[in-house]
């Protein structure tokens, strides 16, 4: 299949502006500035059906249309926090095609009438941040950023900001408080960022990949874009597949592609018989192997299977992996990342981890399984931000599909595998 999102990845020096331009880069920007009024671009993206690639899948054009009329300044923030375990697709774009992202940001900012945009990149992406900073400097030099971009009269500043390392700073309000220089804590919604976000001004927050799609839509049109994917999940998507497969990596596929196509045709097939797949990042409920044959990679199909497309991070878990140990490790991650603002997540994730730890270390009790489920129920839907819920997926789904393995662990005080 022809590559779009990954078209520059693998090209020597793809991060350099001349290489990018040589391969047709910044053409979409020129077109957007010349041929479109901002509102027309919003409509275009809305028509394309592009859904947010950060995890929740909210239609980008719809979000943009929530900006209150006539309130300025507005800000656009590109969410490059990429914190969900298993997710590394944004990183590839940032490191290999930074100008593609910048072009997407400029067009989107123009559409949203923004004059200052930010890239909030996770602190661990040192290399990526450097690449971005350099690319931003190049874009300024060439007049793609700054005053009067390409003679259009449109001005845009773009700032790269490095986070200090917290998963919750990927959550949009946590990200904004962190960007403002405060402790990264989620904030009360409403007001939603679109009406009062950064510095209490209207703010659009989109994932790296979401913004990266925009130039292609401008270039080829909404109809072209809708030609990929399914009716409710149109377009192209990056899947980052990891775990027990022969060729882990980032692959570009239309939404709606069968899961087994990704695993077998792209990722070189499983390296061990598949025990379970976590389809959309570590927080999404794991699926048993028997559903994989018919599963397609789109928002609807994964929801119907009881999980989520999430960030497109497919984690393949092979036989021989202890589920209890796996879940204990994930529980540790979530309790470590709980920001502490709300009681159910702060206390609940700690408690969940401690029970998982006990079970894993041979101190489990049979009643712990119901206790785990009840604690999950007491967190579910009750936490301040979705992180609390995110912590539950691995536990509830593993008990659902692997209760026997838990029981074995408890009774025999050791791993089943």
């Amino acid at each position: 299949m022809e590559k779009f999102l990954l078209r520059n990845v693998g090209v020597p020096n793809s991060h350099e502006i001349d290489v990018y331009i040589g391969r047709g880069g910044y053409q979409a920007l020129a077109k957007a500035l010349k041929e479109f009024e901002p509102q027309e671009l919003v409509n275009l993206v809305r028509e394309s059906g592009l859904r947010g690639r950060g995890g929740a899948g909210f239609p980008a054009g719809v979000k943009w249309s929530f900006l209150p009329k006539g309130v300025y300044p507005r800000y656009l923030v590109c969410n490059a926090d990429e914190g969900e375990p298993g997710t590394f697709k944004d990183r590839v774009l940032i490191e290999h095609d930074p100008h593609g992202l910048i072009e997407g940001i400029i067009i989107s900012s123009y559409a949203c009438e923004v004059e200052h945009a930010f890239i909030y990149i996770r602190g661990e992406y040192v290399f990526g941040a450097k690449r971005l900073e350099k690319a931003v400097a190049q874009a300024y030099e060439r007049g793609y950023l700054g005053r009067n971009i390409l003679g259009s009269g449109y001005d845009l500043e773009l700032t790269v900001h490095r986070g200090a390392g917290s998963y919750v700073c990927g959550e949009e309000t946590g990200l904004l408080t962190s960007l403002e220089g405060d402790r990264g804590h989620p904030k009360l919604k409403p007001p939603f960022p679109a009406s009062q976000g950064l510095y209490r001004k209207p703010t659009i927050i989109n994932n790296v990949e979401t913004l990266f799609n925009v130039p292609f839509i401008v270039e080829h049109g909404a109809e072209w874009y809708k030609g990929f994917g399914t009716e409710r999940s149109p377009g192209l998507k990056l899947f980052c597949i990891s775990g027990h497969v022969n060729k882990p990596g980032v692959y570009e596929l239309p939404l709606g592609t069968p899961m087994m196509t990704l695993i077998n045709d792209y990722a070189g097939g499983p390296s061990k018989p598949i025990k379970t797949v976590i389809p959309g990042g570590s927080s999404t409920p794991m699926l048993p192997p028997d559903v994989l044959e018919t599963l397609t990679l789109d928002y609807e199909a994964l929801a119907a299977a009881g999980s989520m497309l999430g960030s497109g991070a497919v984690i393949v878990v092979g036989e021989g992996t202890c589920i209890v140990r796996l879940v204990e490790r994930l529980a540790e991650f979530y309790r470590h990342e709980s920001c502490g603002k709300c009681i159910p997540c702060r206390e609940g994730t700690d408690w969940l981890y401690k029970i998982m730890h006990r079970i894993e270390h041979g101190q489990g009790r049979e009643e712990d399984i119901d206790l785990l489920l009840d604690i999950c129920d007491n967190i579910s839907g009750k936490s301040f931000c979705p992180l609390g819920d995110a912590a539950l997926g691995p536990i509830t789904s593993s008990i659902k599909h692997f209760r026997d393995e838990y029981l074995y662990h408890i009774r025999e005080r050791r791993c089943m595998v």
Binding site: G340, K341, R346, D350, F384
Partner: protein
């Protein structure tokens, strides 16, 4: 009126104004929803999740504290899911809560305890080891922190952000490790720190002063009023076994809104100080020795009578203070006028005629610009500072500071007019000049005359006189005139002394020009207005009536006494007369002129007879012939009238120690020994402040109709009539200078000082700074003085030995010496009645 919204909560129809939260809508019909992070005076936070309720057609549960009502909402606050969730939140908290209840000072008034009792799990499912965090460590000298008890509701941090604007606490770490703490190496020394104890829902923040002093349910709660400053914060005195254990804030939106400063909250241990005078003392063989009340009062009676007989009533006088109740002040002046037969009666720190109370607190809180002229609310009226900070911080209220010294409120960037002392009138005239010249004044004022009067004060010239840059002056004028609701506040010293009246006039002119409320005085004592209303002044009868024949006759009839017609002496004059030997005896109630008046100690030493009634052997009491032990504010009934003219009730909470008596009682008893009834006795001869208030209500017009019944717990504002408001000429007279003494002395109070009560309050007194003189780096350099150098500050009259504090908080050409920090009276440097005190500073 706001539109109303009707919704259903637990099958009941509820109608509330639009914008109400589900929580408050439920509360309005008596449905209780527990809350931890929510606090009504803080912005909603939504963090704790204990208030989750079910709302039809909304996915999942919603936090009642953040969800605003909508028409036809159907809310359930006690459905099985809601109750399960509530229990779960409590269970989550308890998993790691230490359950220190038996030794926790919050026990009995802890929300967590109460909520678990009502809604919590009865059994623990938690078998893991509890987390351990820091216990019982000093967050500050006043506050003890227990991290294990903290539920991380962030109320304390949010309060410091939204009210005190002292960002001294915050979260550290994250998730389960989160803790509230000070910043590394930084103190928690906000003077508003104690409010965090009141609002902490659990025992994570507790008071050093109250620590282990009682179980909350043993406390008898007595409503009263803080006796430290003119704000008159409403407080609750918590008493057990006749000991004051704790003071906490009491809700009164018209005054302190429940908040207190740390002085009012913590500095009450003087009441139990072993240094209290508990028996009358009489000087025998040159020493003060214990005596019985009979002996002491007989001696006072006899000596006062002798002196009046021999030298006439003009040779005696009475000095009170604005720290006593209206009732005591009223009786005192009545005693001096009817029993001693003289109008020689006054009090320390009297406000000048023409000074006016602040507009109501509400007006101060709602102002969009505030001019603080020669006043420092942080040191002198802290809770007003709290209100101003909140307004400046959250609403952008402009705070214009006119002060030779940088005060805290300058941080809001309202212009700071650092004028040279003595040039106040020129500065104010300059402001008027700019407003008129730029045509910024309110329409419809007849300004022609004023224009003429201030024509000689263009900004450039004002800059020369006052050292305030012309541009700053213009900016201040613009800020003032752009405001819709400006409030002008001045410190009492600004309107005292030779330029005081001109200053008042100029302030009035300014207020008129911009259409503001009458400028208000930041009265410093708890009863500054009241004692004036009570006639504790040589030229005023109760109700601030002038001493004319008609009033004298009427009052005389009421009081069944022949009232003296001769004009009385004020405090300055009495002390001068004492120095000259013309005044022979003084009766002093709760005042310390030996420290607080430039010639106090010399004058008192000259007296033939001095009686002092007070709590402690102050510098003044040490000079007395008879010392009478007086009750503290918590040991007597009475009323104070605060700086906004609000009369508020103090309730007796403690039986006085040993032979201590309330001020009013001592006066009544003495009068009786001297053969005269001065009212307020009941059949059993008990002093009755209530009866005194009834009498006040009959003779002092503004208090007409007041009674303890009508005052209730919230008090009532009284209005004394102001002068007519019209423009008048304010003459600026340049202050005389003295080449030998090149620096102008600026003095002022500090909140924490060595005044008699504060200095005897155990824990608080550690916070009093060492005496210092603040000097600008430019002057320090010329004088080769370094920070912390030992220096002598001397004037033509006297000198003080102090440490230098080199800081640009004070403008060049001035030095700042706080009052009440040293053993030596700072006021002794000054000539009574001088506009500016000139000093020099030399290195020792």
């Amino acid at each position: 009126m706001e539109p109303l919204v009707t919704l259903t909560i637990d099958d009941r129809e509820v109608t509330v104004p639009a914008g109400t939260t589900v929580l408050n809508a439920a509360k309005s019909v008596g449905i209780e929803i527990p809350t931890l992070c929510y606090y009504e005076k803080l912005a909603p936070f939504g963090g704790c999740r204990i208030c989750l309720v079910e709302i039809e057609k909304m996915r999942g549960l919603q936090t009642a504290c953040t969800t605003v009502v909508r028409p036809d909402m159907v809310v359930r606050t006690a459905s099985p899911e809601v109750l399960k969730t509530r229990k779960a939140i409590l269970e989550f908290l308890l998993t790691n809560h230490p359950l220190d209840c038996p030794v926790c000072d919050k026990g009995g008034e802890c929300d967590l305890q109460d909520f678990v009792f009502k809604w919590g799990p009865t059994e623990s499912r938690y078998i893991e080891e509890k987390r351990h965090k820091r216990k019982a460590y000093a967050l500050s000298p006043l506050i003890v922190k227990d991290e294990e008890r903290c539920v991380l509701c962030r109320r304390c941090v949010r309060y410091l952000e939204e009210w005190a604007d002292d960002l001294q606490l915050d979260y550290f770490e994250r998730g389960r490790l989160t803790r509230v703490d000070t910043f590394p190496g930084q103190p928690f020394d906000s003077v508003f720190s104690g409010n965090t104890i009141d609002i902490c829902p659990v025992g994570a923040l507790t008071s050093r002063v109250f620590r282990f002093r009682a179980r909350s349910w043993e406390l008898e709660k007595v409503p009263s009023v803080c006796a430290y400053c003119g704000v008159g914060c409403n407080i609750t005195l918590d008493v057990k076994t006749n000991k004051l254990r704790r003071i906490s804030g009491r809700e009164n939106p018209a005054v302190n809104d429940g908040w207190l400063c740390d002085k009012g909250r913590f500095a009450h241990q003087y009441i139990d100080s072993p240094e209290r005078i508990t028996r009358p003392l009489v000087r025998k063989d040159g020493e003060l020795r214990p005596a019985s009340w009979d002996e002491a009062l007989n001696l006072v009676s006899q000596r006062l009578r002798e002196i009046v007989r021999e030298s006439g009533p003009r040779s005696v006088g009475g000095v009170g203070s604005a720290t006593v109740t209206n009732e005591a002040a009223y009786l005192f002046q009545k005693f001096v006028r009817t029993v001693l037969g003289t109008n020689n009666v006054d009090h320390l720190g009297r406000l000048p005629d023409g000074a006016r109370p602040l507009p109501s607190m509400t007006e101060v809180r709602e102002a969009d610009a505030i001019l603080l002229f020669g006043a420092d609310t942080l040191e002198e009226a802290p809770v007003i500072e709290l209100f101003i900070r909140r307004a400046a911080n959250l609403k952008g209220t402009k705070v214009i500071v006119a002060n030779p010294r940088r005060i805290n409120l300058t941080r809001y960037g309202g212009p700071w007019l650092a004028y040279r002392p003595g040039t106040e009138v020129a500065l104010l005239n300059g402001l008027a000049h700019v407003i008129l010249a730029e045509g910024l004044h309110k329409e419809g004022r007849r300004v022609a005359e004023l224009k003429e009067w201030v024509k000689d004060y263009p900004p450039d010239k004002v800059e020369e006189i006052t050292a305030v840059p012309a541009e700053t002056l213009r900016e201040a004028a613009r800020v003032l005139t752009e405001a819709q609701k400006a409030v002008l506040i001045y410190g009492p010293d600004t309107v005292r002394g030779p330029n005081g009246q001109a200053c008042l006039t100029a302030l009035n002119n300014l207020a008129l020009l911009i259409g503001a409320h009458e400028p208000g005085c930041l009265a410093q004592e708890p009863n500054s207005w009241g004692v004036l209303d009570m006639g504790l002044a040589p030229h005023l009868y109760p109700g601030r009536q002038r001493l004319d024949d008609k009033v004298r006759e009427r009052l005389g009839k009421r009081w069944k006494a022949q009232l003296p017609s001769e004009a009385g002496l004020g405090l300055d004059e009495m002390l001068k007369a004492a120095l000259d030997g013309e005044l022979e005896a003084l009766y002093i109630m709760a005042a310390n002129p030996a420290m607080d008046h430039p010639i106090g100690d010399e004058a008192l030493e000259k007296l033939k007879f001095l009686v002092v009634q007070d709590l402690f052997l102050t510098e003044t009491a040490q000079l007395a012939d008879v010392v009478l032990p007086a009750a503290s504010f918590a040991e007597a009934d009475g009323t104070f009238t605060n700086m906004a003219g609000r009369v508020q009730r103090l309730h007796q909470a403690l039986r006085p120690l040993a032979e201590v008596k309330p001020h009013g009682q001592i006066i009544v008893d003495l009068a009786r020994v001297m053969g005269q009834e001065i009212g307020a006795t009941m059949p059993l001869e008990h002093y009755s402040p209530q009866a005194v208030m009834e009498e006040i209500a009959r003779v002092a017009a503004p208090y007409e109709g007041l009674s303890y019944g009508s005052l209730g717990d919230d008090g009532i504002p009284v209005t004394t009539e102001g002068g007519t408001r019209r423009f008048a000429q304010a003459d600026f007279r340049p202050p005389a200078t003295d080449a030998a003494y090149p620096l102008a002395l600026v003095t002022g109070r500090l909140l924490y000082d060595r005044s008699p009560l504060f200095a005897r309050s155990e824990i608080m007194r550690q916070l009093v700074p060492e005496p210092f003189v603040e000097i600008n780096p430019a002057d320090a350099e010329t004088l080769r003085i370094a920070d912390q150098d030992a220096v002598t500050v001397s004037s033509a009259r006297d000198s003080l030995e102090l440490r230098a504090r080199v800081s640009d908080d004070i403008r060049p050409g001035c030095v700042f010496v706080p009052l009440h920090l040293n053993e030596m009276p700072v006021v002794a440097l000054s000539e009574a009645g001088a506009a500016v005190t000139w000093v020099k500073v030399t290195k020792r």
